[in-house]
Symmetry: D2
Subunit: 265 residues, 4 copies
């Protein structure tokens, strides 16, 4: 399926402010970016680099006054994410090197605190995909997915026991539980076509059966229409924008996803 | 200045054929890609990765029959490349690590053969930018730039002494001479706005005075309007397409560059 | 000065257990490793790789029963770490890419919580080195460095307000405060020659004035004799060993540092 | 088996001269470095870095006058390299990214010239390991391995048709032929225990059946006792030392390999 995705950010800065941005989906084996647009208004110098997770990042200094960023793309992606009941646990010694950082605790996923809980939740499950599936079942059952319920970032420990949470929070908890079982888990920020109300979405991937699989504690159907913008250990790595210095006013943020058709040759 | 650049490749393959492609300009400190389009027709699965030089590369298997690729972009770049007479030679021990591979001989730039010649050509020059400038003077004076004069790749040793050569050949010779002086030099393939007849162009950058500077043995004016597509040690690293297996018929290749305006916000 | 450093770990495992190890100091511009030894007993297959921070890491599966690891090295390092009062703050847009990850909050350094506190602590300081120096003054004054006072890892938020802490805790707090000022800070685990009682030590480096400088909240004299083993965002990245699965018994850990002389040619 | 390996280089420089060195074997899945020594005499500042192929490289500026480097190691490695008749050809689209650079022509391996010859030599072979084996058979039969027969580096095209050649030359030819079949091939420089007369040795690895396999046109028995020092595309990438500026006198080079026993714990 083809999607047209866009994010438009409008800022108003009192002083020139350095930004790090991550708004550019990359073509990978799960998605193909055919058209893309990245407009800075007013136009300012910007430099792009690839971070340690392979994300395309942009650096720039915002002007004083109004400043807007439009990042849009036409992307082909799958209708459904792959499900793989029974996909096996990969022992740590056989994991690819690139996957190892996703075993460690991180800012918002204190996996070191969830060892016992993860074992209990997954008792009786075959090691691997089924364990992760039991984890997202638990998260989905025990916490009500409530878009807009939280503006501050919460870590897995803070989320655990909450009644309401946003996608990012639920993902943090699920990642922490997954890593506690020595299963690599990485956060994804991106677009999800059927999401309502529309916003950027967060989910995660777990490495079982020799590859990364999509898991989403808020969408157990494994609904596709997903366009990944950035991968990382948790929300600290995949902020779509990070600004430094005195806080800048985010005047508006508009996210849109539309079904579209293949681009003409 | 804003440029709209495009390359359209049309192939006809008898059998499904694996390709490596490098057609996607990246935003860097010398250019900003605001819009981009990459269309495969018919649509086939493709995967993108970043190579050791930072180039965005695509892998795919062409279908049997006709197959076309269109890669276009709207890019902001400078009217003129920087000139820096007197920019100093950087001693090897102070070069950044990332620059060191560009000191070594490579497939088409046998710098190990040009030590004496490079010394003679640059006798009396201040070490650094002025040496490289003397080298491109020599290449420009001694070889007539003749677009279309050669279809097979020639190495610096083969080019040296020729009367006619294409941009790629002249660049190979200049790079080999530059590296022979222990100055890092890397090849660039990209677009040059005023080129006639229009085609993809090859030039190089040398690392002097603490940064990379543009040099072009075919365009001594340092004319800007340059959009880099790929960087590498020589033409072996920066082929815009590499196909494996039995040769595939390249039916047509159309390159176009037009001045345009800044994209609307 | 030349140091002979060694760490000897003895484990007893009930089941074969995967380990990640980081015990190999690397030669860099601050230290030169002239001799090195890494002995596994009994000998088991091990694979080495370089992580995203440049650390040499080893992977292996421990045997059942007793298992020991000896890592020793002869290293040349400086008598004193460089002090640079007045070294300037580097604005984010001018930081090297490789330094950017050390601006973000991490598992044990929740820099996002320390913005106001960091500003107050450094009020009146010139931006850069002097700010970081004020931060370690504060940490050293407000928390009593008490080796052995804590066995569990504590994050900066947990450490802040404590009366006693180990080097790792104090470093976490100082890093979080430093990053809150948009100054990159990275944790170092290694050897410190005059440390008593001898143990592995933790300190940090901050990027000011265009390079990394050593800071140590427990050793304000900038005493040298430091041999870095690993760099990372915080203790989660630089554990000298990480084991997966059921806990393995660490029977003993002996760390030793001795002054030695240059090796014979 | 355990080997004690050493290389001792003695230089005499008229002027301070920058060097790049590659003398440090790394622990990998085929070898484990348990002890290591790297002595510069006189002692000069040196910095180590990892190149794009994963080799540990050292940079230093030699003093004026005599200068020696001793690099020794105790390494565990296999008695025999793995043979895998029938190991299958991996189609380009399924090769890991890290392997792709080893498909391209390089300074001394002009694979683009050997397409027809490689096809003829391997006619009737199953694609993969058997093709590479046929190539080394051909190289071993058609060229007499003559240590000391050549001091200058020769490329595959120059070697092809020679009657005598050194290990490096024969390896270049075999690599070029292998890559001409779209099989990745990389050069290895290292120690080979039974070599007589003792010297550093060159061989190569080809990627078939999903992994790298050892091939050696001078040692068809797949004799083990191999300690790899460096990997690269060809001799340009894996020079154990590269010096820049006026030539420095290499007074002597002594290479030694002895069987030894496992180090005491």
């Amino acid at each position: 399926m083809w999607l047209h995705t866009s994010t438009r950010l409008q800022f108003h800065a009192e002083v020139a402010t350095p930004f790090l941005l991550m708004l550019r989906p990359r073509s990978g084996w799960q998605q193909w970016v055919s058209r893309e647009q990245y407009v800075l208004s007013p136009s300012v110098p910007a430099v792009e680099f690839t971070d340690a997770f392979g994300n395309l990042c942009q650096r720039l200094v915002s002007p004083v006054g109004p400043f807007s960023i439009l990042a849009s793309a036409d992307v082909e992606c799958a209708e459904w994410a792959d499900a793989a009941p029974g996909a096996h646990f990969v022992e740590v010694q056989f994991l690819p090197e690139s996957v190892l950082p996703f075993l460690l605790p991180s800012r918002y996923c204190e996996s070191d605190f969830f060892y016992d809980m993860a074992s209990e939740l997954t008792a009786g499950c075959a090691p691997g995909w089924d364990q992760v599936n039991a984890i997202i079942d638990y998260v989905a059952r025990s916490i009500r997915y409530t878009p807009g319920s939280g503006t501050t970032l919460r870590s897995a420990r803070e989320v655990n026991g909450s009644s309401d949470a946003v996608c990012r929070d639920m993902t943090h908890l699920a990642i922490a539980l997954t890593r506690a079982l020595s299963i690599p888990a990485r956060m994804v920020v991106g677009y999800l076509e059927p999401l309502a109300p529309m916003d950027l979405h967060a989910w995660f991937e777990a490495f079982v059966g020799g590859r990364w699989y999509t898991f989403d504690p808020t969408q157990q159907s494994l609904q596709g229409g997903r366009v990944a913008i950035a991968y990382g250990r948790d929300a600290a790595d995949v902020a779509i924008f990070t600004q430094f210095g005195d806080p800048v006013d985010l005047v508006s943020m508009v996210v849109d996803v539309q079904r579209t058709t293949a681009p003409p040759a």
